[in-house]
């Protein structure tokens, strides 16, 4: 459903993405791995139109490179940014309402249903988003994107800085999303969660994809892990 071909991106004069190639099929969980600074976040941002992309990005057959972010979102790509970007003065409920793209269309997810899945968000429905804990903010941010009923969700480092119990919750939500036929592009640094949930993985290094495989094959590829992933 997503086909990225020879994607280049620049921050000022520095050439961050130097020809990234990968694809995601319908309903798949795909992980994008790699160390800090290899261009994983930039890849996601340029798909979303936040960093100007060069090259081809096709979503369900349509070229989306260069479209404004809101058009890309409306086509069905959801994005959960790394910094979470909860609107601190708006309540939890208002944050979720913001995720809806229109008032009429209801998709796979509703506020009531998301509250059932995360009772602590329901308890704090009318509390400003800024006072939530890091884990709650991550859940809220993911739920907010789901309210827009995307066909593909790109999630940037959802488990960063979270307690093991909350990481577990994130993992469960990822499976729940995939069970409903929504594809996921997971940007991660932690190998264990990526290996547990993904159907396929890409490893990035120096602005390009250096390895493609399955969790089983990556577990056996000691050389790849040593060169591109382990610190």
């Amino acid at each position: 459903m997503l086909e990225v071909t020879d994607l280049h991106a620049y921050y000022g004069k520095s050439h961050i993405l130097q020809g990234v190639n990968f694809n995601i099929q319908e309903g798949e969980i795909v992980s994008l791995l790699g160390r800090n600074g290899v261009g994983r976040s930039t890849t996601v941002k340029s798909i979303m139109g936040e960093v100007p992309p060069q090259g081809s990005i096709r979503f369900r057959g349509q070229e989306i490179a260069g479209l404004p972010a809101y058009r890309i979102a409306k086509l069905g790509i959801g994005y959960v940014p790394e910094n979470r970007d909860i609107f601190p003065t708006l309540t939890v409920r208002q944050n979720l309402i913001l995720g809806q793209k229109s008032m009429r269309r209801s998709g796979r997810w509703s506020i009531e249903e998301l509250f059932r899945m995360f009772p602590n968000l329901e308890q704090r429905a009318d509390v400003p988003g800024g006072v939530l804990s890091g884990g709650e903010q991550q859940m809220l941010c993911m739920c907010r994107t789901l309210m827009g009923d995307p066909e593909l969700v790109m999630i940037d480092e959802p488990t960063e800085g979270l307690a093991p119990k909350v990481v577990e919750q994130v993992g469960n939500l990822l499976r729940e999303i995939a069970d409903r036929g929504v594809a996921i592009l997971l940007v991660e640094q932690k190998l264990n969660i990526a290996l547990r949930v993904s159907s396929r993985l890409y490893v990035m290094g120096h602005g390009e994809v250096v390895y493609e495989g399955t969790p089983t094959s990556l577990k056996q590829a000691d050389a790849v892990r040593a060169e591109w992933l382990e610190i």
């Binding site: 809101y70 979102a73 409306k74 970007d85 793209k101």
Partner: protein, 316 residues
């Protein structure tokens, strides 16, 4: 004494609410763009002139409805085809653009309507005293100004805090990228806010025109005070702008109504001067005389003692 105080308060309220109608739009637009719109008061002037022209054919009430709509559309067009292009070149370019626009509008107003004061009158139906107290009349038109302002602010408050579009606007001001990635057309939202802000200034012009006179300098006269207000209130703070608007409105009104002067102050201190003293003009200054200076004096004091304004946040 009580009658003077009461009427000064009412008149201060009228001025304060009128000022806030301009200051609220200016504050919203500032929060979005990060730049003060120097042409904001020009939209206020356009509101008065459009309403004057429309009212001479179709009456005051049609003018009250139509003029703000026309001004709002003009504002939206200025954002879409002017500011949005200039935005790429940074804040200074935007500032200069709005500055130039203010001059352009002033010249155009003089070109089409002339330099003289227009005979823009309040409607006959509101030309009666609303009530008479202590032998003084309070005009129905001033009561109507208070009514319209309060009505608009209640509507605006509910729109901004309770409605879905208000939630989107609030979020778009602080986190435009995130709001865009949730599927909302942020440039369109900004154009809308600019248009509504301009329309609010237009409404202020329509209702102030008959009272404060409709002439080509009206934008400069009120505009400078509105800038004082948004700075005193704290740039970007709606609540701050509201407090500062009422503060300035009341302060000016009390100063004009009082008959206190330097002489009274000096008499309190037991000092008096001969009439023939060379600085006699200074010793006989009265509060009504210095009333127009007070907002700027307050601005200087606030900038010295509280540079972020009353409710402003320090920039990170």
């Amino acid at each position: 004494m009580l009658d003077v105080f009461l009427f000064a308060t009412l008149n201060g309220l009228v001025t304060g609410l009128l000022l806030f109608m301009l200051a609220s739009g200016l504050t919203l637009i500032f929060s979005m763009m990060g730049v003060l719109n120097f042409a904001h008061a020009s939209f206020y002037m356009l509101g008065a002139y459009f309403a004057y022209s429309i009212s001479s054919y179709l009456g005051f009430w049609i003018g009250l409805l139509l003029a703000p709509v026309i001004v709002g559309i003009l504002g939206a067009l200025v954002e879409r085809y002017g500011l949005r292009h200039v935005h790429r070149h940074g804040h200074v370019a935007e500032l200069v653009f709005t500055f130039g626009l203010a001059f352009l509008i002033e010249e155009l107003v003089q070109f089409f309507w002339g330099r003289d004061t227009k005979n823009y009158q309040q409607p006959d139906i509101l030309d009666f005293p609303l009530f008479t107290l202590f032998g003084q009349e309070f005009s129905a038109y001033r009561g109507f100004m208070i009514f319209i302002s309060v009505l608009i602010f209640i509507g605006l408050y509910y729109l901004l805090t309770r409605s879905r579009i208000g939630i989107i606007i609030q979020a778009a001001i602080t986190h435009p990228h995130t709001v865009a990635s949730l599927g909302h057309n942020v440039p369109l939202i900004f154009m809308g806010v600019f248009g509504v802000g301009s329309a609010l200034a237009g409404v202020a012009g329509v209702i102030a025109g008959p009272v404060l006179t409709t002439f080509p300098g009206m934008a400069v006269v009120l505009g400078s005070i509105v800038f004082v207000i948004v700075v005193i209130g704290g740039l970007g703070s709606l609540a701050g702008a509201f407090i500062a608007s009422l503060l300035i409105g009341l302060l000016q009104s009390y100063a004009i109504a009082s008959d206190l002067g330097m002489q009274d102050l000096l008499a309190l201190l037991g000092v008096s001067f001969e009439r023939s003293h060379p600085l006699n003009d200074l010793w006989t200054l009265t509060l009504p005389q210095i009333a127009p200076i007070l907002p700027f004096l307050l601005l200087v004091l606030v900038l010295i003692f509280r540079p972020t304004g009353l409710l402003g946040k320090r920039e990170e």
